[in-house]
C-alpha cells in the first residue's frame, strides 16, 4: 500500500481551501454535463420545439392562428420566441437543480459526500447555482436558433439582437432561475415532486408571460382593477420573459429599469432562502 503523509493540521487557509473546493465542485458538474451533453440537448430542446411546432407551425396551417390574421401570427411569433427562451431558462433551473437536488438529498445521498468538501456548506449550494446557471446559458444559446426557425412560412418572428441586454439579462435570468431551483429542490421531498410541478412550476409557466407580453394583460379586469396584471408581478418568470423580449426583439416590453432590479432582487431572495434551506437540510 501507499506510504502515508498524514495531514495532522490543516495546511491551507479556509479561504484557499474553499476556492479550490468551489473549483472542484464546478469542474465535477461540468464534466457530468459534458458526458451527458446529448441527453442535455434533447431534454432542453424538446419543450421549445413542441411549443414552436404547435403554435407557429400547426396552428397557422389549420387556420387557428393565435392572433388571427397571418400578420397577427407573425406578431405572435415575435412574442413567443423570446418567451420560449425564457421558459427554457426556467426549466433548466428546475431540472438541473431542483430535480437533481431532490434526488441527491433523497435516495442517493450523494449530497452527503459533497458537503464534506473543505469549505462552508453554503458554498456547496452556491456551486450548484453557478453550474446550473451555466447550463441555463447554454440552454438559451441552443434554444433561441431552434425557436427562431421552427415555424410555418410567413409566421416569422422579427428578431433583433440587443447584445448588451443579451449578455447581461440572460446570465441574470439564469442565476435567478437556478436560485429558484435551489429553493424548490431544498423545499420538496422527492416523493412530493408531483406537487412541486402542479402547484409551483405549472402556475409559474402558464402565468409567466411566455405566450403574451405583460402589457397585453391590461384588459383582464374586475371593475377597474387589473387584477391579473398585478398578480403576475409576483411571478419571477414575467421579468425573465420581458427581459428576453428586450434582448431578442424590438417588441414592446416592460421597462428595463424594472426588469434589472427586480431580477436581481428575486435572485437575492431565492438565493438566501435556498441557502438557508440547504443548510437546514444538511445540518442537524
Amino acid at each position: 500500500m501507499t506510504t502515508f503523509r498524514i495531514e495532522a493540521n490543516p495546511t491551507r487557509s479556509a479561504a484557499t481551501a474553499s476556492r479550490a473546493a468551489l473549483g472542484g465542485l464546478i469542474a465535477r458538474d461540468l464534466t457530468v454535463l459534458r458526458k451527458t451533453f446529448g441527453e442535455f440537448v434533447l431534454r432542453t430542446l424538446i419543450q421549445p420545439f413542441l411549443l414552436c411546432f404547435v403554435f407557429l407551425y400547426v396552428f397557422p396551417k389549420i387556420g387557428q392562428a393565435v392572433g388571427g390574421s397571418s400578420a397577427g401570427a407573425a406578431g405572435f411569433a415575435t412574442i413567443l420566441v423570446p418567451g420560449v427562451v425564457g421558459i427554457s431558462i426556467m426549466f433548466q433551473g428546475v431540472q438541473s437543480i431542483a430535480l437533481a437536488m431532490a434526488q441527491e438529498f433523497g435516495f442517493t445521498r450523494e449530497i452527503e459526500d459533497r458537503v464534506q468538501a473543505p469549505c462552508p456548506i453554503w458554498l456547496v449550494a452556491v456551486s450548484k447555482v453557478l453550474s446550473g446557471s451555466v447550463q441555463g446559458v447554454i440552454a438559451a444559446a441552443i434554444v433561441f436558433p431552434i425557436a427562431a426557425v421552427v415555424h410555418a412560412s410567413g409566421v416569422t418572428a422579427t428578431v433583433s439582437l440587443h447584445w448588451l441586454e443579451i449578455v447581461t439579462l440572460v446570465p441574470l435570468a439564469c442565476v435567478a432561475m437556478a436560485s429558484l431551483g435551489l429553493v424548490l429542490g431544498t423545499s420538496f421531498e422527492p416523493r412530493n415532486i408531483g406537487l412541486m410541478f402542479g402547484f409551483v412550476v405549472l402556475p409559474i409557466t402558464f402565468l409567466g408571460g411566455t405566450y403574451y407580453p405583460w402589457t397585453h394583460l391590461a384588459p383582464v379586469t374586475i371593475g377597474h382593477v387589473h387584477w391579473l396584471q398585478t398578480l403576475v408581478l409576483l411571478n419571477p418568470l414575467i421579468y425573465v420573459n420581458e427581459g428576453m423580449r428586450a434582448a431578442f426583439t424590438d417588441a414592446p416590453h416592460m421597462h428595463l429599469y424594472v426588469i434589472y432590479p427586480v431580477l436581481v432582487g428575486f435572485a437575492a431572495l431565492f438565493l438566501s432562502i435556498g441557502l438557508r434551506n440547504f443548510r437546514r437540510r444538511v445540518l442537524s
Binding site: 495531514e7 495532522a8 469542474a27 464534466t31 469549505c119 445540518l283
Partner: protein, 316 residues
C-alpha cells in the same frame, strides 16, 4: 506520537423535539495512530457522535476538537483533515470509479496531475484498477465500500471516520475491510469507527468505548474490558424448564461463579478458575431436576461486558 487527534468535553446533543439527549456529556480522547471504536446498540448515539465530529451535527452543549480545531467554530478546517465513510453509499453515480477519486482530489485542492496520479495509485492499492472506467453502479457492495474508503483517505486525513463500515457486507467483504483498515493503521492512519458488532470492535480496535443511551459506559482496550468482567469462562446452558433453579444451584455449588443470568430457557454463567465445568454442570442440573438441552463454553467477549453493564444484549 501520543498526540490527541480528537478531544471532546461534555459533548451533548438533544435533537429538536426529543426529550432524551442522543449524546449525553461525552468526554473522550482519541490518540494519534490508534483505532478507536464506538460500540453500542442501535440508537446508542454512535452516529450522532461521529456526526458532531464530522461537523454534520451541531452539538447542543460541550465542545469537540479534531486535530486541535473546534468543530463548531471552524467546520471547514476540520473537514480538511477528516476522511469520512458514511453509512450509506454516497458515491457519485454520474461519475466513473476513477472519476470519483479524481474529483475528490480536486475538491480537496489537489492539482489535476497530482489528483490523477493519486487516483491511479489508490485504485491499484485497493485492487480496483480493473474497474477504473466502470460506472459505480457496476460495483458490488464490498467494492463500493472499498472505493469509499479509498476516497476518504485520498487527501491523507489526520483521522478516518467510518460509521458502521461493515453493516450489510457479506462475511468475506467484512474480513477484507478489516484487513484493509488494519493495514492503513499500520501505516499510521488514525481511525475512528462505530459499530454494533462486538467482533469488529474486538478484532480491530486498540480502544473501545461502549455506548448506550448517549453515555459511555466503559472505555478501555478490548482485553482490559473483557478482564474487567472478572470471569475467564462463559457457560451457556439451554434447559427445558426451571432456568432460575439451575442458576441458583450453579451459583451455589459450581465454585468461582461471578454472575448468573437467565433469559427465557437460557442460563448464562460467568465463571472464573473453575475446573471440569461441563461434567459438573450436567451433574448439578440433574441433581436440580433440570434437563440440559444444549451447553456451550466460551471466553468472555465484549458482549459479556455489555450485558454486565446494561443487563441487556447488544443485539436486541
Amino acid at each position: 506520537m501520543a498526540e490527541d487527534v480528537i478531544v471532546t468535553e461534555g459533548l451533548t446533543k438533544v435533537y429538536e423535539g426529543m426529550d432524551a439527549p442522543a449524546v449525553d456529556h461525552l468526554d473522550l480522547t482519541v490518540c494519534a495512530g490508534e483505532v478507536f471504536g464506538l460500540l453500542g446498540p442501535n440508537g446508542a448515539g454512535k452516529t450522532t457522535t461521529a456526526g458532531i465530529l464530522t461537523t454534520r451535527v451541531v452539538p447542543t452543549a460541550g465542545r469537540a476538537f479534531v486535530a486541535g480545531i473546534d468543530v463548531v467554530r471552524h467546520p471547514a478546517l476540520v473537514k480538511q483533515v477528516s476522511g469520512i465513510v458514511s453509512q450509506q453509499n454516497t458515491l457519485d453515480r454520474q461519475l466513473t470509479v476513477w472519476e470519483n477519486l479524481y474529483f475528490h482530489g480536486r475538491l480537496f485542492g489537489m492539482g489535476g496531475r497530482d489528483s490523477r496520479a493519486r487516483a491511479d495509485e489508490l485504485l491499484e492499492s485497493f485492487s480496483l484498477t480493473k474497474w477504473s472506467r466502470a460506472s459505480v453502479y457496476a460495483l458490488s457492495g464490498g467494492m463500493a465500500q472499498r472505493l469509499m474508503v479509498a476516497r476518504a483517505i485520498f487527501h491523507r486525513p489526520a483521522v478516518l471516520f467510518l460509521d458502521e463500515p461493515t453493516a450489510g457486507l457479506d462475511p468475506q467483504s467484512r474480513l477484507a475491510l478489516w484487513e484493509m483498515l488494519a493495514e492503513l493503521n499500520r501505516e499510521g492512519q488514525t481511525v475512528v469507527l462505530t459499530t454494533h458488532y462486538m467482533e469488529e470492535a474486538d478484532q480491530l480496535c486498540d480502544r473501545v468505548a461502549i455506548m448506550d443511551h448517549g453515555h459511555i459506559l466503559a472505555l478501555d482496550t478490548p482485553d482490559a474490558l473483557k478482564r474487567s468482567t472478572g470471569a475467564d469462562t462463559i457457560l451457556t446452558v439451554k434447559v427445558d424448564r426451571d432456568g432460575e433453579r439451575l442458576a441458583t444451584a450453579l451459583a451455589r455449588d459450581l465454585g468461582g461463579v461471578v454472575s448468573t443470568r437467565v433469559a427465557g430457557d437460557v442460563v448464562t454463567v460467568q465463571v472464573r478458575g473453575a475446573e471440569r465445568l461441563v461434567p459438573r454442570t450436567v451433574d448439578l442440573a440433574e441433581a436440580a431436576g433440570v434437563a440440559v438441552l444444549d451447553l456451550a463454553v466460551a471466553e468472555p467477549s465484549l458482549e459479556t461486558v455489555f450485558i454486565n453493564l446494561t443487563g441487556k444484549e447488544l443485539r436486541e
